[in-house]
Amino acid sequence: MRSLRTSLVIRTALLLASTLSIAAVSIYFLMRASLISEFDAALLVEARSLSSHVEQSDHEVSLEFEVGQLPDYARIDHPHYFQIWSNDGQSKAKSQSLGDRNLERPRDLTDVPAYNLATLPNGHSGRQTAFQFKPRIEDEASDHTSDEQNLSIVVARDTRQLDSMLGTLAGLLLLVTAATVIGSVATLSHIVAKGLQPLNTLAASIEGVGVADLSERVRIENAPHEMTPVVQRLNGLLNRLNDTLAREKSFTANVAHELRTPLAGLQTALEVCASQPREQKDYQRVIEQCLRATGGMHSMVENLLVLTRADAHQLPVEIESVEISSLVQESWSPFEAMAHGKQLDVEWVGNHASIVQLDREKTTLVLKNLFENAVAHTEKSGWVRTTIVFQDSRMDVTIANNGCKLRPADVAHLFDRFWRGDQARSDAGSHCGLGMSLCKKMMAVLGGSIEAQIDGGVFSVKAIFRTSPGDVPGLVPQTLDTAGDRKRS
């Protein structure tokens, strides 16, 4: 995997090299065009100058100077060349540098100068300009207009100096470009490394966060502005992870703790039972006690599984038509004997004959937990009152009991998992502090809500179920006249 630093340096270097190359090539061609233009201008000046010294008298064309008087056109080393032709292609004059050789006369010449590359007689490359012109008439008084003939001139020079200059320019540009790219890569590499240093610091800081202890936070001294949100998000993530880990730890510890006592009970019962031979009834008694204990543990594990499934959104809501009276009876019946044994005054308020659409299983689970709590925590000869009220598309079930020993402030913790007002484990499993949290979770799954209140020793919990009217004619839920629909059992 390529590092960010290498990637940044390579990409930036490539971009820089491309940009500089384009710039260098552009500069080269601009300079080349400019130099060639100057070269051509010089050629034209020479050609115009030569043509201005061509005279015509009668039908003769002559030069005002001797060809040998022009040293640039006579020297052996890199000489200039020119040649003048008449219209019929007859050479009228040429530079001494040509000797017996001739320049090539371009066709279709006009009086507009034409420029082109040429291979000079000495084999060197050069440039030439060519155009037609009219020679100066020696006797200006006479009228020779009709005899005036057009001449053609070609002036050529080698481009050695120009080529050399362009070569130097190209080399210089190449050198500057390469040096700039290499220097930039080195500088860039250093700058990027320095710029990415906070990332290394961040990595080291993250590494410092322990696996088991997430209380450490990522800190970077003088962090660049761009990294601040990253550090903040990381610390936010660590906060959430830490909270989750703490909850998981607490949950696991609570589960382990809740299982320790019944496990100790089972182990001790079996060890003591096995310590000596006993009568059949003694074994039977121990087996029954152990089965009750495992039943309690089973209940706790079931509650935990339901909570876990609810947390994982794996509890689908299954709506069906439910007759409230049978639902309440089913939920209450497991605790009826206990309530009778404690001589509780049990009061029912509301129209229990209604039929509504709701999830029977989950509603029963909630009501069972609430009834169990009410009966278990009401002292002998106390009272439990259940009120069911229908309002619009909701069913409010309020279960209240007296003799509550909790403080009003305890309401804040009432729905916490494994929280109990009393630290007793008198009935490990069924009263391990999961009931109310289970109710709250179930109500959330059902789209309802649950709230509790403690006032003057009276504990009341109100569960609000979202319902729709049932499909049994004549049994439409209605707002209750509690005074007229009250019974005791």
């Binding site: 703790h257 809740e258 320790r260 006592t261 019944p262 496990l263 100790a264 009970g265 089972l266 182990q267 001790t268 019962a269 060890e271 003591v272 039972c273 310590s275 000596q276 121990v286 006690q289 152990c290 009750r292 204990a293 009393d422 630290q423 007793a424 484990r425 008198s426 490990a428």
Partner: protein
């Protein structure tokens, strides 16, 4: 020896109590903190086995109250709380021992016996009075090389007398250490058990070991 067991989980409470009784201890039980505290402050127990998470009054409060009232009864905390902090807090609050649930009953029994020995300043589980040997671990007694078969209650009685060898032990003290709180035994039951014990221990050709101090109680020792 008399033990108080304060534990709210019924199965565990009943099982420990049964095991201790079968090991020769008299056991009072309490299912919640208030009753446990009342028992602990009202009676002189050899060892108290105390759960921490109890209804009404928690175990640590009982322990602190006990120590505040000057009771020096040996206390074993028996709890599901297993962290170092919990253990330190329990021991610093005045507990003599700390056992975490779940546990092996034999270990609890051994710890109870160790605390009983500590109470009576006995380093060894083997008590020797003249030619009488009492092994508190195996719950066995020998005299002059012969095994003596004793019932659990008789062993508890001789164990108490041996632990306080050379001292007069009153009938009340014997009652308190041998019988449980809700026992319905007759008032002369101590004398009856002493008589049974004498029949099993005393030999015509050997020195008398159990002596009666009229109006005071009984004394175990070679020199009455």
């Amino acid at each position: 020896m008399r033990i108080l067991l304060v534990e709210d989980y019924e199965l565990l409470r009943d099982s420990i109590a049964l095991g201790l009784r079968e090991a020769g201890f008299a056991v009072d039980v309490a299912a919640e903190g208030a009753t446990g505290l009342w028992h602990a402050t009202s009676n002189d127990y050899d060892v108290i086995i105390l759960d921490l998470m109890l209804p009404r009054i928690d175990g640590l409060s009982i322990l602190k109250e006990l120590r505040a009232t000057g009771k020096i009864t040996h206390v074993i905390i028996l709890t599901a709380k297993d962290t170092l902090g919990d253990r330190v807090l329990g021991l610093d609050s005045g507990a003599d021992d700390y056992l975490i649930k779940p546990f092996v009953f034999a270990e609890l029994l051994a710890r109870v016996r160790a605390l009983v020995r500590r109470k009576y300043d006995a380093k060894s589980p083997l008590l020797r009075i003249a030619d009488l040997e009492i092994d508190t671990t195996t719950r066995s007694a020998r005299r002059d090389g012969h095994d003596i078969k004793l019932s659990a209650r008789e062993f508890a009685l001789i164990e108490l007398l041996a632990a306080k060898a050379g001292q007069v032990v009153s009938r009340t003290e014997i009652w308190e250490h041998i019988y449980e709180f809700d026992s319905s035994a007759e008032s002369n039951v101590v004398d009856v058990f002493i008589r049974h014990l004498r029949k099993k221990i005393e030999r015509p050709h050997l020195p008398r070991l159990i002596h009666t101090r009229r109006g005071h109680g009984y004394l175990l020792g070679e020199n009455g």
